[in-house]
Amino acid sequence: MKRVRFSQQEIVFAVFALLFAVFSIFLPGFLSPDNMLTLLQNVAVLGILGLAMAIVVIGRGIDISLIAALAVPSGLVLQMVQNGHSLTAALAAAVLFTICFGLVNGWLIAYAEVPSLFATLATGIFVAGLGQAALFQLDVVQWSDGMAGFERLGQGTIFGVPTSIVMFAVACVVVALLLRQTRWGAYIYAIGDNPYAARVTGIPSRPIVVLQYVLASLIGCFAGLVMAASVNSMPTRIFNSTLIYDVILVVVLGGIGLSGGRGGVVNVVIGTLLIGTMLNGMTILDVPYAGQNLIKGVVLLAAVITDSFLNPRNEETAQQGDI
């Protein structure tokens, strides 16, 4: 007897198809081309963030500070241009800032051995507070003339496809190549699978962990720039929103186990589609914001519970006090 078994990504994809079908049938306007474009545009930024989170989660970590990496460096670009600096200088400053941020995160986690959830929670608050206190004059950093031309990163179309979706695709390809084709990518999987074994076999596990967080911050910054370009401003209060839960939702629902070492870009795409459909459907149904959060929270909880059954924590390699 051959048992039929489905992998998580197949199940999630089936759920996505079902949800899509149900919404298409029952929700007027869901299947319209306009709505489809909005849906995809809305999830593009989420998808890019999902890629950043995926790199970290595959290496058995988590990065709660992604939203800060999204909001603060891109806000810095807008603010600097507003203050009269050139766009190039502003971008350079932002990238430098992001790399520093990633390095600090990575150092705290790899070398100071602070648990990743905890370290990124604190650094995220730190950077958001820094932006609020020292970098930005207003909560929403406005677009200025110096930014002219930059909005093409998030608006318009390339060969008929909205740019933000193209950006998501580009990011997907880059991350997929990194994870599947380079030695560093293999190291990340190895560390996520069993950090001690990885270290024993001679993988430079600490530098690789630092690399994960630098990459995650850079991708987060990229997502922020795409987002700023598409809405022509940078609402830095986005840090207080629940966006980070959506990102975790994308990764966990897509089938990248929180215990690390599994999954890839395909899982992020599937997770993004599912969440995008869900959010879009709830918006059309006019579910209030708090209600949406409630539903997302419950779905995330269900996903995490399922994840814990499908990818049980390895008690041998789980650290004591690994919270």
Binding site: A112, F118, A119, I125, N293, G297, V304
Partner: protein, 705 residues
Amino acid sequence: MRDALTRLRYRYWPDHLLGEILSKRWTETAIPVIVLILVAFALSRSIDHFLSPSSLADTARQAGEIGFIGLGMALVVIVGGIDLSVGSMFALTDFCALYTLDVLGWPVPAVIAATLICGALLGAVNGVLIGYLRLRAFITTLITLIIYRSAFDLLIQRHSNEIAAAFPDIPSWNFVGGGDLFGIPSVALVYLVIAVFGHIFMTRLRPGWHITAIGGSRRSAYNSGIPVRRTIALCYVASGVLTSLGALFFAARLGTVGGDIGVGLEVIVLTATVLGGITLGGGKGSVAKSLVGVLIVLLITNGLTTLNARGGINRVALATILLAAAMVDIRWQKNRARIISKVYVAPTYHELPPPPPTEIGEGGPFEQNDKLRDVTLIGLGRIEAPEDVILDRNDVLYAGSRHGDIMRFFPPDYERMEVFAHIGGQPLGMAFDRQDNLYVCIGGMGLYRITPDGTVEKATDETNRSLHSVNDDSRLRLADDLDITDDGLIFFSEATVRYEMDEWPIDGLEARGNGRIICYDTNKGTTHTALRGLKFPNGICVASDGQSILFAETFGCSIKRYWFAGPKKGAVEVVMDNLPGYPDNINLASDGNYWLALVGMRSPALDLAWKMPGFRRRMAKRVPVDEWLFPNINTGCVVKFNEQGKILESFWDLKGLNHPMITSMREHRGYLYLGGISNNRIGRYKLAGADPDFVQYDKRWGRRS
């Protein structure tokens, strides 16, 4: 001159205290307390009226409310988890209290009960998920944070106007919010009661121990039968209840439900918890640490608010403190043992004049000879580490062994060997009392008594705690040798109070007076310390005057006399000093003189190093232990000395074949029996011209029929 300065510095500066203080568990609480005092001092200088009663009362109210949540968080962190949902639970239970009071109009006791139950249920959700379903605490409570928060948002959208419209004026409710007793706010009183209970719970009650055990090692806790899942789940329930208690007081004080109640509260409480020194990952923490952490964080955030800092600065400050505290904590927990082992060894200045000669041809009483070449060997290869040997009135030979047994050999040929008693620790010095009970000093255990039929009983394992010591010196660490006076007082030496038995050479490296002589009164069953500050006191022998004992200070290279009775009671006098080796056991000889074993001989290198404490400290820090310069115990001898401290005769084993090192010797019926702590044999040496009927106890207490 420089030597004199070094001597003074090491004589009066207490180097050894640093390591002892660091190895105390209370240092981990002391550091946050010092931080708290510094913060309070700094803020009171920069803000007027910071320490005025009204300001303090206000702080106490806030501290009480956050303090409850801090206790809950502490509990959850100690059990090895984390609870991020406290902010949202706080908001929901605050809403619950105000809704039941203002809208439903319930009486105050019912409101309180409902709020607490609400908190318990919210906590139970976390508890079931984390305890029973074994989800990760961080991610799970992050999700419940968002779920509870959105539930709260939905609820206040519907009900905030009704609540805002009501102005309940109920005295008991107002008392909860703003009342005080003897000037202490109600919330602080309740906090105090719960904190005291919490302290007793965590330190004295079984469930509290279970919680700490699970946090320390979850798998070991499970293997030892602790209900791990239930205990973890209950900790989250407790966190919910404590949070709702905080929310209750908050609701009574302010009476409002705003959208941002409890937002970011989890970060404040978490910062407080980590800052107080409660280790992330579990197993360590206390109520006091939680309170101190809450106070520090509250003072800082209130201070920043008073100083009109921008909102972002508050966040930056909190995040910085959180990260710094977490990093310090994690590094400290990881490296604690290593740091302590590096600073614990604190050598001191110890000067000895050049030793008397021992070489052949130099003359003098210590001149080497080969007298011990002709000893008979007893139990060769069958006994290990007979530190002391003793014979009873029936000529049976007793010796300790490394395996924790007292072995005995039967006359006349001492071939038959049997285990007399099993003790479990390594037997060192031994002595018989008048009733033929064998008293034994056991390294690491204390003083034990073995009755003639082989029953092992504990005589004593603790003495009075001295006032000024940091290390708890009431327990006996290394009881070494003993003798019993005619009145039934047992004087025994404790070689060191700073090291365990296996680390005794390190005490020689320190060369500080870490040892003491303790007296156990067999008539009253009491123990007290007679002398302290001795350099590795070792052998003890009651002198023939019956009023004093002779004792050897191994690393002092001297023999001293201590009067425990008579006109010179309490006095200490040097009998011999500057011995060429390290003296060990002392015993009575048949001609009224004393036998003394030298366990090892001094070497010029160590003598010089003893005058250079800085050198030895560098060595202890930088060189691995097995390459340290230790006292030599590879060769030694037995000497006989008289009451005046004159050496009469010495016995060597030049080839080092049979008895290179000797820790004890016992004369019995014309023979000298030799033991050594690293030997696998006992030696029997025929003494020329000795009294062939000499039996130590017959001589002291009269022959028994």
